[in-house]
């Protein structure tokens, strides 16, 4: 049985190994970019059916951002929405036969987690200024500085392992069951996988939003009070 922690290269372009996850990732990216560019080309004040469906997606993301953090969704909508749509597409791409979700590989999830790590810094500095961002490390009081610095890395790392573990375990279990039993037996597990994929995409983007909002909030308050920071185990 192949190790789920490694990915085999299909071919090499120069020194860079090209894996199946990489091709799938680029296909999803292309699809999302081209799809949104085509769908938003002609926007009107009186929406057509297509535009109404798009607006439903955007409004849902806005509502979720507002309900989970209380922040105004406008600056975060693009990043959080893209994160959610990409992870959802990546998790559900396993519906196509022969395609493994790229989020079941270590490198995709690590890249997503690194993006979230830097976006927390970016949004923290943008929302509260450089001084405010540095002050957010001393959130409840000064004693917490080393813990907050460690937490800023571990919380992103835990997001990475969570997404990888959930998606990879789904693929792994389906592989085991398919090798033991026949053709139709893994179907309930695959249905469960769709639910897991949706929930994990939701959780990943909500957690990213919560971390960003907590950093901005801690940086803005002149006398830092202890609130809302530790939503993460």
């Amino acid at each position: 049985m192949n190790s789920p922690l490694e990915s085999a290269a299909l071919f090499h372009v120069g020194p860079i190994p090209i894996t199946q996850a990489l091709i799938t990732t680029w296909a999803i990216m292309l699809l999302l970019v081209l799809g949104s560019a085509l769908l938003t080309r002609r926007l009107t004040t009186v929406p057509s059916k297509r535009q109404a469906a798009l607006e439903l997606v955007v409004t849902t993301i806005d509502t979720q951002i507002r309900e989970t953090t209380g922040a105004e969704p406008a600056p975060y909508r693009a990043f959080i929405g893209t994160l959610f749509l990409f992870i959802l597409a990546a998790n559900w791409v396993s519906l196509l036969p022969g395609v493994e979700p790229p989020t079941a590989k270590l490198e995709t999830d690590a890249a997503l987690a690194i993006v979230v790590f830097f976006s927390i810094i970016y949004f923290g500095i943008r929302g509260a200024g450089l001084k405010g961002y540095i002050r957010s490390f001393a959130a409840p009081n000064l004693i917490m500085i080393p813990l907050n610095i460690i937490e800023s890395i571990t919380r992103v790392f835990s997001m990475f392992v969570r997404l990888f573990g959930n998606v990879m375990s789904g693929v792994f279990v389906i592989g085991i069951v398919a090798s033991l039993a026949g053709l139709l037996v893994p179907i309930p597990l695959m249905a469960l996988d769709l639910l897991t994929g949706l929930v994990q995409a939701y959780i990943f983007s909500v957690l990213a939003m919560v971390f960003i909002a907590a950093t901005v909030e801690d940086g803005q308050s002149p006398s830092p009070t202890s609130n809302s920071q530790n939503k993460e185990p």
């Binding site: 789920p4 922690l5 969570r162 573990g165 959930n166 929930v199 939701y202």
Partner: protein, 81 residues
Amino acid sequence: MDYLSLASIICAALSVSFGALGPALAEGRAVAAAMDAIARQPEAANTISRTLFVGLAMIETTAIYCLVISLLLLFANPLLA
């Protein structure tokens, strides 16, 4: 087979089995509490089930960590290399 790989296999099985125990109990309690809340206030079912799903996925993460550890022991063990 030397004792190191034997120990890794046994520890992988142990880590998954004990790692599944705690989250199973915790998820049971969480679902029971959510059912209770929905029975009392059916109109809040949407919010409750959304929060429940997020909470369940959080709890499940501990079991996933154990699974990752056991896979590391089986497939990427630095001591066996």
